[in-house]
Amino acid sequence: MLCLVPLLWLLWDTFTGNLSANPLEDITHRTGLAGLRILVATLAVTPLVRISGWSHLMRLRRLIGLFAFFYVTLHLGTYLLFDQFFSLAGIVEDVAKRPYITVGFSGFLVLVPLAVTSTNKMVKRLGGARWKALHSLVYAAAAAGVVHYLWLVKIDTRDPTIYGVIVVVLLASRLWSKRVKRPS
């Protein structure tokens, strides 16, 4: 699965010494970037299905979404371990005082219930309408990821802005299709 490529590539680079002089920074950035990219890909599935008619893609959406959560968890784990050494005081201070970490951590928190309710059993338990409502929060998580990225770059806001535009376009396309489905 394509989603494994970032991880495999990262592991390869790590063990062949191909990371930069600051390997922990590389790992943090690459896991975060993979998480964001795959999350954005998750948002693109439904519009893509609608345009192409490839309805079998929908089955992949859950897997792709969970991979996004996987990378975001790796990203958070790298920070917790190598930046903070699991120092609760340090983590709390960062989350409270550094806006980019506040928003990043919030994005992760939003993804947790989504990951937990990703199973078929959970869909049945919540019921289709409630599950859909809950999972619309994925856009909030994506937005949080973009803002987190935007707020941590020193000055070159080009890449985070591009992701932001993509998320907005994908959200707009979902809202548009919803409006079309339910004529007032």
Binding site: S20, A21, E25, E93, K97, R98, Y100, W151, K154, I155
Partner: protein, 301 residues
């Protein structure tokens, strides 16, 4: 143990290598005089914490913030080969009695480079320990004789998008500019560096001549200098121009004054896994703190 690896040598560099070794003989000959001048200052100049290891040459020359060659840390090493470091001149002008345009060869001959092992602390909260080869900026400034009007020193980097492809994007307003107060510029710790690890500066480290001000954040240590100007006004500095709230003129390393978006209490020393505490003035407090006596360092950041 420092890893020594010869940088890619282009033909113009080969000449410089031999000039460099000639200079070393010259240094040897004048060692007595040079050492005598250094003795009162040398022990504290070289002092680093007991367990501080040099950052490997490979790391120093492959992990660079030099946006003139791209904004990635690996871009300068990959792209800086287009920089032509010969011929090179440094114009020293402004509030001085004897303005002069120096040829780089003249500077290398006149001001023998000595080894200075300094910490470099980036504002992004990573740091290195680098064995620079350089000479006190004060020596050069004394030659041009600053007038009584001179209160600040401005530095300007080359502006040539053809040689520096990163300048084709206005990530920062080009050319890169920096500045120091005159007393900071004249301080014995402040050097113009022309080499590192006993070799000429690789292009990605700011060849052929750059500033190193070890008690300030790394962005103050401007690279590939073409102009030095003495003025009576605090000069504009590039990062302050784009993000004044985040990057001030003084930029003294200070764990107690956080960057608006991240803390400066700790830093990642490259090569180490655990982050370490950042020291006031990057550990040079005993030598520079009195320059700022009575200044509110959270206001003058």
């Amino acid at each position: 143990m420092p890893i020594r690896r010869a940088p890619d040598i282009i033909s113009s560099e080969i000449t410089e290598e031999s000039l460099y070794w000639d200079r070393r003989k010259f240094i040897g000959a004048s060692a007595g005089a040079a050492l005598a001048a250094l003795i009162p200052v040398a022990p504290s100049l070289m002092r680093t914490r007991q367990d501080e290891k040099l950052t490997p040459y490979d790391s120093v020359t492959s992990y660079n913030n030099f946006y003139e060659f791209g904004v990635g840390k690996d871009d300068p090493k990959r792209n800086a080969h287009t920089l032509r470091t010969r011929p090179w001149t440094v114009a020293v002008e402004g509030a001085v009695h004897k303005p002069k345009v120096f040829d780089i060869e003249e500077i290398l001959r006149k001001y023998p480079a000595e080894e200075r092992i300094y910490r470099l602390r980036c504002v992004e909260a990573w740091s290195m320990v680098i064995p620079w080869m350089g000479f006190p900026l004060a020596s050069l400034l004394k030659e041009v004789e600053p007038t009584s009007k001179a209160k600040y020193v401005q530095f300007v980097t080359l502006h040539d998008p053809e040689q520096m492809p990163g300048q084709r994007r206005t990530v920062l307003p080009w050319p890169y500019m920096e500045g120091l107060r005159l007393d900071e510029a004249m301080h014995p710790l402040t050097i113009l560096a022309t080499g590192l690890y006993g070799k000429m500066l690789p292009n990605q480290n700011g060849a052929p001549i750059r500033l190193v001000v070890p008690w300030k954040y790394g962005f103050k240590s401007i690279k590939s200098i073409v102009r030095i100007r003495l003025t009576d006004q605090e000069p504009p500095t590039s990062w302050n121009q784009v993000l004044a709230r985040e990057y001030g003129f003084y930029a003294n390393v200070n764990p107690d004054v956080s960057h608006p978006r991240w803390s400066q209490k700790k830093e990642r020393r490259l090569g180490k896994i655990r982050k370490q505490d950042t020291l006031p003035f990057n550990g040079y407090a005993d030598q520079v703190a009195d320059l700022y006596a009575g200044m509110d360092l959270s206001r003058y950041y």
